[in-house]
């Protein structure tokens, strides 16, 4: 790009200074060390040397809120989900707790989702798995895919894996879904014709008006956003980013966004699970 501009424009010697991620380190509650920077996974090595959590692009005031659970408004959702965890719902007289014990036993689950489910023959997100438990094991109504109950439960299950490295599988039976997600990541959608990669790969570190572009990693989801003062599901964020390209979006839970989630998750393999995180 630069070379072409030089030939065409003659004197575009200086591009805008790249505003890199900052150097801050994240330790939650003085004990959970969060890896916010890691070597890029092999499949991304021709794109990035290093991957960064979105936390590194936020300002100090936003960052500090995530370092203490009492300051992190997303933890209210986690607390609400602890109530749902033990609540008997549906025809089978079961709760999450009756099969799974304490929520802490879910440690290690968040880092490997989305994940291939052999019996179902599909890649499943955490949300899909939660709704499968609700409908087929509990005889309860499914939750709305990106509704409040669901986002809170995902936040609870993420919170007990904080500090563990994201490690989703991209090969084997998940590979075709992963490839479909990659195609979506590089498609220039909408009337503005922008792909995820235009903003989060080519321009991470740059400002798009007042917004400091991160790599668009999803290790921090669900994220509590100061902008809408609520916990946000990862696929709601995808939907919003696609809408901002003046495109017809995909719905949370659609096969397209499930594939995209697997692919984007794999771009963060090696970063710590951080959810519920705080962003602006």
């Amino acid at each position: 790009m630069k070379t072409r501009m030089l030939t065409l424009a003659g004197l575009l010697l200086t591009g805008p200074a790249l505003a890199d991620p900052d150097d801050d380190a994240l330790v939650i509650n003085g004990e959970i060390e969060i890896v916010t920077e890691a070597p890029a996974p092999v499949h991304l090595s021709d794109v990035f040397d290093t991957i960064y959590s979105g936390w590194r692009y936020r300002n100090d005031e936003t960052q500090v809120m995530e370092s203490d659970d009492f300051e992190n408004p997303g933890m209210l959702g986690v607390e609400a989900a602890r109530d749902d965890w033990v609540e008997v719902a549906g025809t089978e007289e079961e709760s999450c707790a009756s099969c799974h014990g304490e929520p802490e036993e879910m440690a290690g689950v968040r880092p490997v989702y989305p994940k291939w489910n052999e019996d179902a023959g599909e890649v499943r997100t955490l949300e899909m798995q939660i709704n499968d438990c609700r409908t087929s094991r509990m005889g309860a109504e499914p939750w709305k895919y990106a509704g409040e109950d669901m986002v809170d439960m995902v936040a609870l299950i993420s919170s007990v894996s904080r500090g563990m490295p994201v490690d989703v599988a991209t090969d084997g039976p998940a590979q075709s879904t992963w490839e479909a997600g990659r195609d979506i990541y590089y498609t220039r959608y909408g009337r503005l014709e922008l792909a995820c990669a235009n903003c989060h790969e080519d321009n991470s570190g740059n400002m798009i008006r007042a917004d400091h572009l991160s790599q668009g990693q999803i290790n921090g989801f669900p994220t509590y956003r100061l902008k809408n003062a609520q916990l946000n599901a990862v696929q709601s964020r995808f939907k919003g980013c696609i809408r901002d390209t003046m495109a017809e979006t995909f719905e949370p839970g659609s096969p397209e966004l499930v594939a995209l989630e697997l692919y984007v998750a794999s771009r963060g393999n090696g970063l710590s699970v951080e959810g519920p995180s705080v962003r602006n």
Partner: protein, 166 residues
Amino acid sequence: MPAMKRPLTGPLVGIVLSLIFGGAALAAEIVPPAEVPFDEYGSVETSLTGTPGDPENGRALMNKGAGNCIACHRVTELEELGFLGTIGPVLDGAADRWTEADLRGIVADAKRTFPETMMPSFYKAGGYVRPGDGFTGTAAEGELAPLLAAQEVEDLVAYLMTLHEG
């Protein structure tokens, strides 16, 4: 008054319409997006409307509506607006680097000048993947107007032509 009996075409309509619309260009004179004569470098020699661009309106478009150029570009002269983007080049001196025809081409469809560029094509006829109805997230229906009207492209070009270095 034989002229009054003529069917309403030609220059007369132009005069009448510009009286009605306060100088807005005559619809028939506007080059539609699909017919813009880009040359092999992506430049466009002739005006899209025949009406000279208004640099003041161009300046306003830099910061609002479908233009919103400062989401990606900085211009020192617009610095007071705050939070200018850093994605595209700083536009100071654009008029020294490019001809009016080049700038018209870049604003109308930058991908003709810079293949693959992230810069949106502001005067283009369709060809989008999943075009939406504005920023609603729902599908666009019917024929899509270009992001900027022809005269808005001319106004932006007129503004860019004021950006000299120093």
